[in-house]
């Protein structure tokens, strides 16, 4: 049994992958708490897809190197969130429609750009579904520093983000800088997505943002607890998912997301069962 757990650790790429999965899971879940509470899941999904053209430009400019991808993807995510705001404000179109337009448009642009490259199929799959076992030491450092930065900002502005999420009108009458905080939250989501790109990829990103946070939401009624619990669930899902992917030979990103989903379903089932038992007494 112990061997089952230790064997994969003999591979350096598995060690790096596990560290990356834990960091990314925790960061995604903490940011995801606000995504869940404010009903921004679609926006999160859209931003994840919208970074693809940035990734493509970074790939071409950096000739396959990893570091430029981060920064170009970040630029693309910030531009996309600003674009969604501009379409919502500048037209009569509702926000979810604006998100749909920008999301599909930028995603298509990204696919078009990547398809013009030589090793199209392999690289596109990496961006879409992640490549956690290809994480290098340098990637790990970047993930740790940026992810740590996101967590610090969330802790620093905890009470402000809480007020803004609970009651934006109250935030305004308390004269908090609401526009600044809104934009800061969008930037945090964008950085989180970029940091997680290699772990789960663009297509499954939204699951890392919302599923662990939603699971925590089911079991607690305190924001701080929800955040901590979500981070814990996501980190454990990352480790469990990666082991599953190792032994069952399935894609790592998919395995991690499926583990998150399984946690959610288990908690939900346990809760409805508990409720039924309680009401049956």
């Amino acid at each position: 049994m112990i061997d089952l757990l230790l064997d994969p650790l003999e591979y350096a790429f598995m060690m790096r992958g596990l560290v990356a999965a834990v960091i990314v899971g925790a960061v995604c879940a903490m940011v995801g708490t606000y995504v869940v509470l404010r009903g921004m899941a679609f926006l999160g999904d859209a931003l994840a897809h919208a970074i693809l053209p940035g990734v493509a430009v970074g790939y071409i400019v950096g000739d396959g190197a990893r570091a430029p991808l981060f920064w170009w993807a970040l630029v693309a995510a910030v531009l996309a969130s600003l674009g969604i705001g501009a379409v919502t404000k500048g037209t009569r179109v509702k926000q979810d429609t604006a998100i749909g337009i920008i999301f599909a448009g930028t995603f298509a642009l990204g696919i078009a750009m990547i398809s013009s490259m030589r090793s199209y199929a392999v690289d596109l799959a990496h961006f879409l579904f992640g490549d956690i076992l290809g994480v290098s030491n340098g990637d790990l450092w970047l993930t740790g520093i940026l992810g740590g930065g996101v967590v610090l900002v969330i802790i620093a502005f905890y009470k402000e983000f809480m007020v803004l999420a609970f009651d934006p009108v109250l935030a305004t009458t308390l004269r908090l800088p609401t526009n600044l905080l809104e934009n800061l939250l969008l930037v945090l989501i964008a950085v989180t997505i970029v940091v997680s790109l290699q772990t789960v990829g663009v297509a499954l990103m939204v699951a890392m943002l919302v599923t662990p946070a939603a699971t925590a939401y089911l079991v607690t009624q305190r924001l701080a607890v929800m955040m901590a619990l979500a981070a814990g669930i996501a980190a454990v899902s990352g480790v469990v998912g990666l082991y599953l992917s190792f032994y069952l030979e399935i894609a790592s990103g998919a395995a991690i997301v499926l583990t998150c989903t399984a946690f959610f379903l288990l908690v939900w089932a346990a809760q409805s069962l508990g409720l039924r038992l309680n009401s049956g007494e």
Binding site: F157, K159, T172, L174
Partner: protein
């Protein structure tokens, strides 16, 4: 009360603009507001003195919430001006807007004490955590609204009346001097309404100015110094005796009003739009 005084001293200098006593507390001058492209308020003019209790009445969609949000500095006026103690609302952190209960996310993962503490966010300042004395203040505010035992409850577990009193405790923590309460009495049974009025009486003694939107005309006449009759325009503002004339009410509500003639004049039963 010592705690409140101490906190007021430490925080007051930071953000509160000095209030000018010679001008009326709240001045609204030729206010025009468009909301979602439609005119919501036009040509609204009034002054309110410090410590007044004003009931704002008018049919649904008359612009009561819009008026409150403009006074709170949340919505922008198309033209005209709002002055609170001689300054724009955006400069004050002493204005509290309590939303209609239907607009609140009651399943949000916070306790009653958390929500009351939110009122202090502006005073605490960025990057600061609440200290022991802030929690003491929150406990004191909850005591004032008779909810000291419910501090750790999830907000979803409260009754409608308790939810309303929690928000009033939040405005106490905010040290609000102008309270804008948006239909706080809807859905409250009579004893709960009475509890809210007892707290408002206490606030009145402390010089807090209150504007309260309601559909209960009888309550407006019985419990308030002034009544404001609104339907996109200001149709009447004065003491209940001055405002509650058949003519004025008909111009605001049209046919949506039940009036029963009695010996000493006309008695209004209520507007027919809502359940309170």
């Amino acid at each position: 009360m010592k705690v409140i005084d101490r906190l007021r001293k430490s925080a007051g200098m930071l953000r509160n603009i000095p209030h000018q006593d010679e001008t009326p507390f709240l001045v609204v001058k030729d206010l025009h507001v468009r909301y979602e492209g439609l005119p919501a308020l036009s040509g609204v003019d009034f002054n309110i003195e410090t410590g007044s209790r004003v009931a704002v009445i008018g049919p649904n969609g008359a612009g009561k919430s819009t008026l409150f949000k403009v006074i709170a500095g949340v919505l922008k006026a198309s033209s005209g001006e709002v002055r609170v103690s001689g300054h724009q609302p955006q400069g004050h952190i002493c204005i509290a807007y309590v939303p209609q209960r239907s607009e609140v996310d009651w399943s949000f993962p916070v306790s009653v004490a958390d929500v009351v503490m939110m009122g202090r966010t502006g005073k605490l300042g960025m990057l600061r955590r609440p200290k022991a004395e802030d929690w003491e203040l929150v406990r004191h505010c909850l005591e004032l609204v008779g909810m000291e035992g419910l501090a750790e409850r999830q907000i979803n577990e409260l009754s409608a009346g308790q939810q309303q009193r929690m928000f009033i405790a939040q405005t106490l923590a905010q040290e609000a001097e102008l309270l804008l309460l948006d239909e706080p009495l809807s859905g409250l049974d009579l004893p709960s309404q009475e509890e809210v009025f007892l707290i408002l009486d206490e606030l009145h003694k402390r010089g807090v100015t209150v504007m309260l939107a309601t559909h209960d005309l009888g309550m407006a006449a019985a419990r308030f110094d002034y009544v404001m009759l609104l339907n996109h325009k200001l149709l009447g503002f004065g003491t209940p005796q001055e405002v509650f004339t058949e003519e004025r009410l008909k111009s605001a509500y049209g046919g949506h009003l039940q009036m029963i003639p009695t010996d000493d004049g006309t008695m209004v039963i209520g507007d027919t739009c809502c359940d309170d």
